[in-house]
């Protein structure tokens, strides 16, 4: 219902205050990326400079952490997309013994506190004598990424009728064509949304990472370490700003893509 009445002033102020509370701290992060003061977060900043961008550019540790984070997030998202979609398809398409249990077990890791998942994985890795590496981080992240994909996909599978696959086969499409022209367009947007969420979750994950990483430093771990160091503090802010901008763009893009989702027709066009 759309009302033509004006909202009361008090409500407007409350709404503005709420939005400011949410977004002002982020703006502060941006401002500190340009400050001339490098040892403490002094307000107001004594001066503004662009030199921290050059400094950040020249820091190999930033590049290494960024590269590792991107690798971990993409690989664990891909693994989660494969496993999560298959699992969702199985649970929603067929009936078998223990189906509800499997559904619960898949969702459980996201309900567990990250610290439990972390400790459990760490002791499991040492029991099995698996050396810590990028792959142990990826395994840790995949546990919660799978849940996100699974939840998105299972909801979409349940909404789309099973006879669609029969109909496609009936009209002459083999298994691959049915997947390409019917299943994928129907679950595609759900997978995209789930994949983005999984990527974002993995990209800024700290707790599970601290337990499953050896000497490797992902970007959020690097930031955490950097905060206790009194030198070149604004470099952290520059990195934070770049991360915000870089993650914001795909989210914006995906928003426009899924908003148009009704018309994603799986046809060559």
């Amino acid at each position: 219902m759309r009302s033509n009445q004006q909202a009361p002033v008090s409500l407007k102020i409350a709404a503005a205050a709420g939005l400011l509370f949410l977004h002002l701290p982020i703006l502060l992060i941006f401002v500190y990326a340009f400050t001339t003061e490098e040892k403490s977060y002094q307000w107001p900043p004594p001066g503004f400079t662009l030199k921290w961008f050059a400094v950040t550019w020249g820091r190999p540790d930033v590049w290494a952490a960024l590269k590792l984070s991107l690798q971990v997030a993409s690989i664990s998202t891909v693994i989660a997309m494969l496993l999560g979609t298959l699992c969702a398809a199985a649970v929603s398409r067929s009936k078998f013994f223990g189906r509800e249990t499997i559904s619960l077990l898949v969702i459980l890791p996201i309900a567990l506190p990250g610290i439990i998942t972390g400790i459990a994985l760490r002791s499991a890795f040492s029991l099995a004598e698996i050396p810590f590496s990028m792959w142990t981080i990826i395994l840790g992240h995949a546990t919660f990424c799978v849940v996100v994909i699974y939840n998105n996909a299972v909801a979409r599978f349940r909404r789309s009728s099973a006879s669609l696959i029969d109909a496609s086969m009936d009209l002459g499409a083999d298994g691959f064509q049915t997947f390409r022209y019917v299943i994928l367009p129907n679950v595609g947007t759900a997978l995209l949304a789930g994949g983005m969420l999984a990527f974002a979750l993995s990209f800024d994950e700290v707790i599970v990472t601290t337990f499953t990483a050896g000497q490797q430093t992902t970007l959020p771990i690097w930031m955490l370490e950097e905060l206790v160091r009194p030198r070149q503090r604004p470099v952290t802010n520059v990195v934070a700003m770049v991360v915000v901008l870089v993650t914001f763009l795909p989210i914006l893009g995906a928003y426009y893509m899924t908003r148009d989702g009704d018309r994603v027709d799986g046809q060559a066009r």
Partner: protein, 329 residues
């Protein structure tokens, strides 16, 4: 006459459940064939066996003389109109109808032209740009029909296609399907649990009960001359009465059927009956009668003088209208 679909001793078991039990059928080319039966009687499973979604556990299926077993659904010249229509929600109507042609690699302009023609055929011209969700149930049903017919199947399977429509629309679609089948001249195999639908549309009807075909025949055969009690009960509202009661010359222990409209009110010389209730059905009125403890339905034209409830009357019927039945089922 070419046989389009031939079932020889076809069975389909799910564990211990015999969904289809030793079915023999031959369906002629160009025939409007109905499979009629209560839910769970195996008629839909038979349809899915023809479409190729199910494989027979035993027996043999031929479609136009070719063995159908192990031929996947996408290689059969058979198309289906699904009960829930199964339109692709992500495609518009034109792309839905053109789907089969797109799969076969037919060029865009050509397949869209054919899809438009198919939409004309089902009286939905100009609906191509809409989405399935923007159409009514009856319109979706027509789209499902167009989507199947555009592939020029040799056999069209229809799984309770009118089940979700309201009465008026259902009657209209019955007429349209019937005339469409005449125009196209292809085999229609139609699954329904509605005996009125089967009787009014089909050239021949197979009655299913518990996985078996209990009778195959023309609508007149099925209606006038049911072979078994089940058929008499299921198709319409026939009276099932002891044979020796229906006609004194019959032996006791058998059952006979008697159509309600065959029961006449007479002035004298008939059997004495008490009117238990009457219901006005428009042109006809249904009388429920009691003759020495046996219930009998009678249909009488409403324009004649009808007895009141509780009144004693005389009724009679011709022995030719009594149909003796197989007592086993």
């Amino acid at each position: 006459m070419t046989i389009s679909v031939q079932f020889s001793g076809v069975c389909r078991f799910y564990g211990d459940v015999k969904a289809v039990d030793t079915v023999d059928l031959s369906i002629q080319e160009g025939e409007f064939f109905a499979m009629l039966g209560p839910s769970g009687s195996g008629k839909t499973t038979c349809l899915r066996l023809i479409a190729g979604f199910e494989q027979p556990s035993a027996g043999h299926i031929e479609i136009f003389g070719e063995t159908a077993e192990l031929v996947p659904p996408y290689r059969r010249h058979v198309n289906t109109v699904f009960q829930d229509y199964a339109l692709f929600p992500h495609l518009n109507i034109l792309d839905n109808v053109a789907y089969g042609l797109m799969i076969r690699g037919i060029k865009k302009a050509e397949r869209y032209a054919e899809a438009e023609q198919a939409l004309d055929l089902v009286q939905l011209p100009g609906y191509g740009a809409r989405k399935p969700s923007e159409l009514s149930g009856g319109q979706r049903q027509r789209v499902a029909l167009a989507r199947a017919l555009v592939n020029k199947p040799r056999v069209l399977l229809l799984d309770e296609p009118l089940g979700a429509l309201d009465l008026k629309l259902r009657e209209q679609m019955q007429d349209e399907l019937k005339s469409l089948q005449k125009v196209l001249g292809i085999t229609f195999i139609f699954v329904t649990h509605d005996q009125g639908e089967a009787l009014s549309m089909a050239d021949r009807i197979a009655i299913f009960n518990q996985g078996k075909v209990v009778q195959v025949g023309s609508p007149e055969d099925i209606y006038q001359r049911p072979d078994t009690r089940f058929v008499a009960d299921f198709v319409g509202s026939s009276n099932v009465i002891p044979a020796d009661f229906a006609d004194k010359t019959n032996t006791a222990g058998q059952w006979a059927s008697l159509r309600p409209e065959a029961v006449r009110l007479v002035d004298s010389g008939g059997r004495t009956a008490v009117v238990i209730s009457r219901s006005y059905l428009g042109a006809m009125t249904r009388l429920v009668l009691d003759i020495n403890g046996i219930r009998l339905n009678a249909l009488s034209p409403s324009n004649q003088a009808l007895p009141a409830d509780g009144e004693q009357i005389q009724v009679d019927w011709d022995s030719a209208d009594v149909r003796l039945m197989d007592s086993s089922t």
